[in-house]
Amino acid sequence: MLARVLVPREARRGEVIQIRISIRHPMETGFRYDNSGRVIPKNVINSLVCRYNGVAIFRAEMGSGIAANPQLQFYTVAQASGEFVFEWVDDAGQRGAERAVITVTG
């Protein structure tokens, strides 16, 4: 699943940093019809977790009320250099993942 993440490359220890993620996903509501009149089945990204050096620092449980091609923005405190790992799954069981590296000084 195509996704983009925005994490600062560098931060000072204790600094509150902004994390952004944008995912290509139709977040199909299950209320739409195709050209033949058949219901397009519901399929949304229902859960996402962001782990910072292995520890979950943000979770989102989502439904069809989140817009297509979902974007999330949240915050965390820069603690140690390392890696952010984003993982998510949709109703059809398709998984997505992205990572970003951060250097924390001080």
């Binding site: 439904g63 009320g65 949240f74």
Partner: protein
Amino acid sequence: MPTRRRFLATLTAIAGAPLVARAALAQTDGRESLIRQVTGGAPVTAGRVKLDTPTLADNGHSVPLRVIVESPMTATDYVRSVTLLAERNPRPIVATFSLGPRAGRAEVFTRIRLADTQEVLALAQLSDGSYWSGTAKVIVTELACLDGS
């Protein structure tokens, strides 16, 4: 004649009153039961939760929304979770975000779908278990021209 008319009017008023009252109750009942799905019946205090979202949405398919909860976000006093509710949506519970002391700031931005003009509600649960709420009214309109492309 006037007596009968007055009698009928009185009868209608008495019969109609519970219906009107029930309608009003149903509306608050709907929101109450929705909130209860999240809080389990725990009391909710209005405050501390701010929603930053347009008053007039460009399109109900994608409405930007920022939730900010007043909290020091320390190890002992932080926001545990934020739940977004849109009672006029077919699925009123839009999302739940789990934060925690490591968040640093209790602020989440996303884009939501709104099925109709309505009041969006955000419920925040703090580390002490208490619930706080904030609302924002968003007007949602149709496109000027139908798009069948």
